[in-house]
């Protein structure tokens, strides 16, 4: 049966003029949330296996080189027995003098200068590593030992970023939920407004599926329209944000440029929302129709 001229135009009630805009807003939010998700994932990726899981231990210079060697061996042995330590290696003298060169200039390379020993440690914080435990364990072995936990502040930072990621995911889910609720409300408003039309359709012998098809078509079109408006607003917003981010040189968000996958995901909000609109409308209509004459 033809859907164009032959179909029953349900007319343009205000409720349905309203829905595309609400859907546009939802898609806009969803697109931004998805973009945010990808950017945040990028940030965590970058830092995750980086400094967050490293620790530097310095053993202060003492009178004899031999004593220092013993201390290093003892600390290494202790570290390797500690929970959450993945790797612990003493740096060679040249590496340490490289680290100190900016401080000591050329003299750092001189054999005369006593250099502190430095141990580079990789930890796995998920296995219950606590910097304080290491400190407590090593202090008795080498008094005055310095433990520099790079991860401490970075960990906080990354936890905040991950929290934000969770929020973004929650927002996307919330948006889907709200969209479904909105479509249900609007469909039922539509059914209410068009109750008379539907009853007459029934009286002249139209099947439920015929009526439901009209609604589903209408709502998927509305969903599509809303989604296109939303995405049409979201893309420039994202590009603008990206330009702003680059010009202000925010180093923490270095790859504001979204990947192809990200753009595809953002674009996927369009078919997603019209699909959600269509299926919700269809289900709502079929359910409601069976309660009518």
């Amino acid at each position: 049966m033809a859907i164009g001229r032959g179909a029953i135009p349900f007319g343009h009630d205000d409720a349905s003029r309203f829905l595309p805009w609400m859907l546009a807003f939802m898609v806009y939010l969803a697109a931004l949330a998805v973009a945010g998700l990808f950017i945040l994932a990028d940030v965590t990726d970058k830092f995750d296996r980086g400094i967050e899981n490293t620790l530097t231990i310095q053993i202060p210079v003492s009178e004899s080189v031999l004593s220092d060697d013993r201390k290093v061996a003892a600390v290494l042995a202790r570290l390797r027995r500690t929970l959450g330590i993945e790797r612990a290696d003493a740096l060679g003298r040249s590496e340490v003098s490289d680290l100190l060169r900016p401080w000591l200039g050329a003299t750092a390379a001189s054999d005369q200068l006593p250099l502190p020993r430095v141990i580079d440690v990789t930890v796995d914080r998920s296995k219950g590593f606590r910097a304080q435990n290491v400190r407590d364990a090593l202090e008795p072995i080498v008094p005055g030992i310095v433990i520099d936990d790079h991860g401490a502040w970075l960990g906080d930072f990354l936890r905040a970023v991950r929290g934000a990621e969770m929020m973004a995911i929650a927002v996307v889910f919330l948006i889907c939920l709200i969209t479904v609720i909105m479509v249900i409300f609007t469909t039922r408003t539509g059914l209410g407004l068009h109750r008379e039309t539907i009853e007459i359709m029934h009286f002249v012998g139209a099947r439920d599926s015929y009526v439901a098809r009209q609604f589903a078509l209408r709502f998927s079109l509305m969903g599509l329209k809303g989604a296109l408006i939303g995405i049409a607003l979201a893309v420039p917003s994202l590009l603008l944000l990206s330009v702003i981010a680059k010009n202000s040189g925010i180093g923490l968000i270095p790859d504001f440029d979204l990947t192809t996958v990200a753009w595809i995901s953002i674009g996927a909000t369009v078919p997603a929302s019209s699909l959600i609109a269509m299926m919700t409308a269809r289900a709502t209509v079929i359910k409601s129709l069976t309660q009518m004459v």
Binding site: M1, A2, R5, G6, I8, P9, F10, G11, E196, T197, E199, I200, M201, H202, F203, V204, G205, A206, R207, D208, Y210, T290, V293
Partner: protein, 247 residues
């Protein structure tokens, strides 16, 4: 001789109210033509609503085309309804559709070809004097014009039964006669017809059998004792008394 409509001890009450209809028993033979009369509020529209499946009875048995309607599954209702035409008392035209599209509706839902729809609908609307108003929305039509669109919609699909509720309340006597003529033609083609009306002139003129609704029951024809027009072999309604025995 088959009964297309058959009521057995049918009662109807709305919600918790009093019984509007109580103990209605009647049989309408295929091809019969009845008027339904009664005071305002007597239950004429309610009785018709039961007949065209807009309302379920509170008690009793209703059969259409020999089928007990309480056993008809929902998915078979459309097929049943396609054999029934209804003129509602308040017209119930779809406000967003033109006169043409309103009348075309019953043909559209069964998938009649567009060209055929156009021919039939235009012909019928011309016949009821609305040739110049094909594209007018109901709100821009006069009361009588709306009523004629409603009548055209009810008859366009040549239904097996036609129920008309006060179909001449907004038209002058000349148009009323024309509408009655249309119904007569349909009746000759085999359509069973029931018309609820207050228009006594109409009833007097046609001398068709009359169902008189009073106190919630259908009484033998009032003011036209000889229900079934004697000497005419038109099928008539066999009325039943309250306790179900044929009168």
């Amino acid at each position: 001789m088959t009964d297309v409509v058959s009521f057995e001890n049918v009662g109807l009450r709305y919600g918790l109210g009093p019984e509007v209809l109580r103990d209605i028993s009647l049989n309408l033979e295929a091809g019969s033509f009845h008027f339904l009369i009664g005071a305002s509020g007597a239950g004429k529209s309610s009785l018709l609503r039961l007949m065209y499946l807009a309302q379920r009875p509170s008690r009793g048995l209703i059969s259409l085309f020999g089928r007990d309607i309480s056993t008809v599954p929902r998915r078979e209702l459309p097929a049943l309804r396609r054999r029934i035409g209804v003129v509602f008392q308040n017209f119930r035209l779809l406000p967003q559709l033109s006169a043409f599209d309103n009348v075309a509706l019953p043909l559209r839902v069964v998938g009649v070809k567009q060209s055929e729809i156009r021919r039939h609908v235009e012909e019928l609307l011309t016949w009821v004097g609305l040739r110049d108003h094909l594209d007018a929305k109901p709100a821009t039509l006069s009361g009588g014009q709306q009523q004629r669109v409603a009548i055209a919609r009810a008859v366009i699909s040549r239904p097996k039964i036609l129920f008309a509720d006060e179909p001449t309340g907004n038209v002058d006597n000349q148009i009323a006669a024309r509408i009655l003529h249309l119904f007569d033609e349909l009746n000759k083609l085999g359509t069973t017809i029931v018309i609820a009306t207050h228009n006594e002139a109409l009833i007097r003129k046609t001398r068709r059998p009359v169902l008189h609704l009073e106190d919630g029951v259908v009484r033998s024809a009032a003011g036209d004792e000889d229900a079934g027009t004697p000497g005419d072999d038109k099928p008539a309604a066999r009325l039943a008394t309250e306790n179900g025995r044929p009168a």
